[in-house]
C-alpha cells in the first residue's frame, strides 16, 4: 500500500480469460507473474521484481481501486473505469491498450422496433412512453453511469434504469426491460436475442488497458520504480510519472 516508502502494488484480474491474457502480456515482457496457492490466492509476485506486490481482484474492483488510489497500477477494461465513477477517468492515467478484451458498450433495442434507428428516435419513444404505458421506458444495464451520461447527451430524461448483473441481453424477452445497454464484442449474442444496435448507439469502445492511479501517493522513489517497471513492459514512452 501507499504508506510504504517504496514498492508498487499491481492489480491483475483474478480469473478467466482476462487473467490469462494479462499474465501472458506480462510474461511476454519477461515478467512472469507467480500466484502461489493458485486461483484461491489473492496475492502474487513477479520474479526479479521484488518491489512489486501483485494483487488479484475482479476487474470492476480494479477500476474502483485505481480511482481511489488503493492500488498503483492495474489492468482492467477502460469501460469499467468510465463506469466506476462519474469522473473516474480524471483519477487515472491510461498508459496503453493491451490488445485484448476488446468490446463495445452499445445501446441495443428489439429488432422489431422498425421505427427506431437512432438515439433521436429513442428520445421520441421515451418522451411519450409513460403516457402510453403508465410507466417509464426501462433500460437494463450494468453500466449505470455510462448509460446516464449517454442518454443525457441525447436529451433523454424519461426512462428508468433496471440494474442487471448478468444476462442483460435477455431482459427485453423476459419483460424486465424494454431495451438494453450492454457490452458486445462480436454482436452475436445480441443477434441471437434479436436485438439491434442503434446506428449511433456506440457509447464507447473498450479494451484491456494498463492503467496508473493518479490518486495513489506517488513519492519520488515510487515514481522511479514505476518508470522502471513501465520501461520493462515496453511500448510506453518514458516520463509517464511526470504526469502524476
Amino acid at each position: 500500500m501507499s504508506t510504504l516508502p517504496g514498492g508498487l502494488t499491481l492489480a491483475i484480474p483474478s480469473k478467466g480469460r482476462l487473467e490469462e491474457l494479462t499474465r501472458k502480456a506480462f510474461s511476454t515482457a519477461r515478467m512472469n507473474i507467480a500466484r502461489p496457492g493458485g486461483a484461491r490466492s489473492y496475492v502474487g509476485s513477479i520474479k526479479n521484481q521484488p518491489q512489486v506486490t501483485v494483487r488479484f481482484y475482479p476487474a470492476a474492483e480494479i477500476a474502483r481501486e485505481l480511482i481511489l488510489g488503493g492500488v498503483d497500477i492495474g489492468v482492467t477494461g477502460s469501460d469499467l473505469i468510465h463506469e466506476a465513477s462519474e469522473n473516474g477517468e480524471e483519477n487515472v492515467l491510461f498508459v496503453r491498450g493491451l490488445g485484448f478484451g476488446e468490446a463495445n458498450v452499445v445501446v441495443a433495442i428489439p429488432d422489431s422496433w422498425i421505427d427506431v434507428q437512432q438515439m433521436t428516435d429513442l428520445a421520441d419513444v421515451a418522451s411519450d412512453f409513460r403516457s402510453r404505458h403508465g410507466r417509464w421506458l426501462r433500460v437494463a444495464t450494468k453500466y449505470v453511469n455510462l448509460t446516464r451520461r449517454h442518454f443525457a447527451k441525447y436529451g433523454i430524461a424519461e426512462y428508468r434504469i433496471v440494474e442487471s448483473a448478468g444476462a442483460t441481453e435477455s431482459a427485453p424477452a423476459a419483460g424486465s426491460a424494454d431495451l438494453i445497454v450492454d457490452i458486445t464484442s462480436t454482436g452475436s449474442t445480441l443477434a441471437a436475442n434479436q436485438l439491434r444496435v442503434l446506428e449511433d448507439g456506440l457509447i464507447m469502445k473498450s479494451e484491456a488497458n494498463l492503467i496508473v492511479s493518479r490518486t495513489a501517493d506517488w513519492t519520488p522513489l515510487r515514481k522511479a520504480q514505476l518508470e522502471a517497471l513501465l520501461s520493462i513492459m515496453g511500448g510506453v514512452p518514458p516520463g509517464i510519472s511526470t504526469l502524476l
Binding site: E86, W113, I114, D115, T120, A123, F151, G155, E158, G175
Partner: protein, 361 residues
C-alpha cells in the same frame, strides 16, 4: 450592516409569515417518487440508502415533491394552499455529497394563477432583498408560450410533440433543428405500406424475438410511429417555418425588445401572436415594478428540463452568475403525482448559501 444570523432570522420571518404554512417534510424520503417524477437524470443526484429488503430511500433532495404529495394525501385538491419551507437538502455533485440550505414557496390550487405567479415573484424578490440583492439578473422563459407558438405557427402535430419534448435541452433541440433544416432526401420513396401489413410484420418480428406483445411497445404503436415517420419525411416542415422557429428560439433580450421582436416575426409570418404574449408581458411588467433595478431578459429557449412545467418559468442570478432563485408554473406536477388532472401550481426555490455568499461580497 446586518449579520449573517440577522439575515437568516429575517428569512425565517418571511417563511413563517401569517399568510403561509411552513412545511417540514421528513429528511429521509422514499426515493421511488423522485425517480417516477423526474426520471433517471435527476435520480443520479440523489443520495440513496437502501433497507435490508431492498427499498430505496434518499436524503431529502428538494421540498417541492414531499409538499405536493402531502397536499394530495390530505385530500386538499381544489383548495388553495400556500406552503413555505426552509431547511437543508442533500444531493451529490461529481460523486461528492453536498448539503444545501434551501427556502421556497409553493402555491397550490390557487384560483387566480396569474396572481399566484406574481406572489411567487414577490416572495423571491423579498428574499433577495434580505440579502441586499436589489439588482439581480432575471431570466424569464415561456413554456406555455412556446407550446402556443408551435400551434400558431401551424407546425404539424407529430412534429410539435417532438419539438416540445426537446424544449429545455439546447443540444437536443439544436440537433432536431438541424434535422429539420436539412431533411433527409429520400432517393426512392417506397409506396406507403398499409397499416395492417406493417402491424403483421412487427408482430412476427416480436414473436420470433420472444417478446410479449403487450408488456412493452405494442405492434400497433410501433407500426403507427413507423408510418408517421414515413409521412413526416415525405412532408417536412416548410423551410420558412423552420427559419421562424429558429428565429423565435434565438430571442434572448430585455423583455420589451424581446416581445416586440416575437410579435413582429409572427406578423411577418402572417399570424397574430399578441394575445398569448399579453400574459407574459404582464408578468414582466409586474417584475419590473417590483425590482426596478433588475436586469430582466426574456429567453425564448429557456425551460427547466422537467416536463411538468407549464407556464412561465424564471431564474434569478447573482453577480457571479450562480442561480439564486428559480421557479415558475408547473400545473402538470400534481397530475403526475396522481391528482387525475392538472392542478394550478407555482413556486420557487431559493439557494440560501448562495444568497449569503452574495451578501458577504
Amino acid at each position: 450592516m446586518k449579520t449573517a444570523s440577522e439575515r437568516y432570522a429575517a428569512l425565517v420571518r418571511l417563511v413563517e409569515s401569517r399568510t403561509v404554512t411552513r412545511a417540514t417534510p421528513a429528511l429521509l424520503l422514499p426515493a421511488g417518487p423522485y425517480f417516477d417524477l423526474a426520471g433517471e437524470e435527476f435520480g443520479r443526484n440523489l443520495l440513496l440508502t437502501t433497507t435490508n429488503n431492498g427499498l430505496e430511500y434518499c436524503l431529502r433532495p428538494d421540498f417541492t415533491l414531499p409538499i405536493a404529495q402531502q397536499y394530495l394525501e390530505d385530500g386538499l385538491i381544489g383548495a388553495p394552499a400556500a406552503f413555505t419551507y426552509l431547511g437543508p437538502i442533500f444531493r451529490q455533485q461529481n460523486s461528492t455529497p453536498v448539503e444545501f440550505e434551501q427556502a421556497g414557496l409553493e402555491l397550490l390550487g390557487q384560483a387566480d394563477a396569474d396572481n399566484a405567479l406574481d406572489q411567487v415573484l414577490t416572495f423571491a424578490r423579498w428574499a433577495l432583498a434580505i440579502y441586499d440583492i436589489t439588482a439581480p439578473s432575471v431570466r424569464l422563459g415561456g413554456v406555455g408560450l412556446f407550446e402556443a407558438f408551435l400551434e400558431a405557427a401551424e407546425i404539424p402535430v407529430a412534429w410539435r410533440s417532438r419539438i416540445r419534448h426537446r424544449f429545455g435541452h439546447p443540444e437536443a433541440l439544436e440537433r432536431l433543428m438541424e434535422r429539420l433544416s436539412n431533411p433527409e432526401q429520400k432517393v426512392d420513396a417506397p409506396a406507403p405500406d398499409s397499416r395492417d401489413t406493417v402491424i403483421e410484420i412487427v408482430t412476427d418480428a416480436m414473436l420470433s424475438g420472444g417478446l410479449s406483445l403487450i408488456g412493452s411497445r405494442t405492434p400497433e404503436e410501433i407500426a403507427d410511429r413507423y408510418l408517421e415517420k414515413q409521412a413526416l419525411e415525405s412532408a417536412p416542415i416548410p423551410p420558412e417555418t423552420v427559419a421562424l422557429l429558429q428565429n423565435y428560439l434565438s430571442v434572448a433580450e430585455s423583455t420589451d425588445t424581446a416581445f416586440e421582436r416575437i410579435s413582429e416575426m409572427c406578423k411577418e409570418a402572417g399570424f397574430d401572436f399578441d394575445e398569448p404574449l399579453y400574459q407574459v408581458r404582464n408578468h414582466a411588467a409586474a417584475l419590473a415594478a417590483l425590482s426596478p433595478n433588475a436586469d430582466v431578459i426574456f429567453d425564448a429557449s429557456f425551460s427547466p428540463r422537467l416536463d411538468y412545467y407549464t407556464g412561465i418559468v424564471f431564474e434569478m442570478t447573482g453577480s457571479d452568475g450562480e442561480v439564486l432563485a428559480s421557479g415558475g408554473e408547473y400545473d402538470r406536477m400534481l397530475e403526475r403525482l396522481g391528482a387525475g388532472e392538472p392542478v394550478k401550481a407555482s413556486g420557487c426555490a431559493l439557494w440560501v448559501d448562495r444568497l449569503e455568499r452574495e451578501a458577504e461580497q
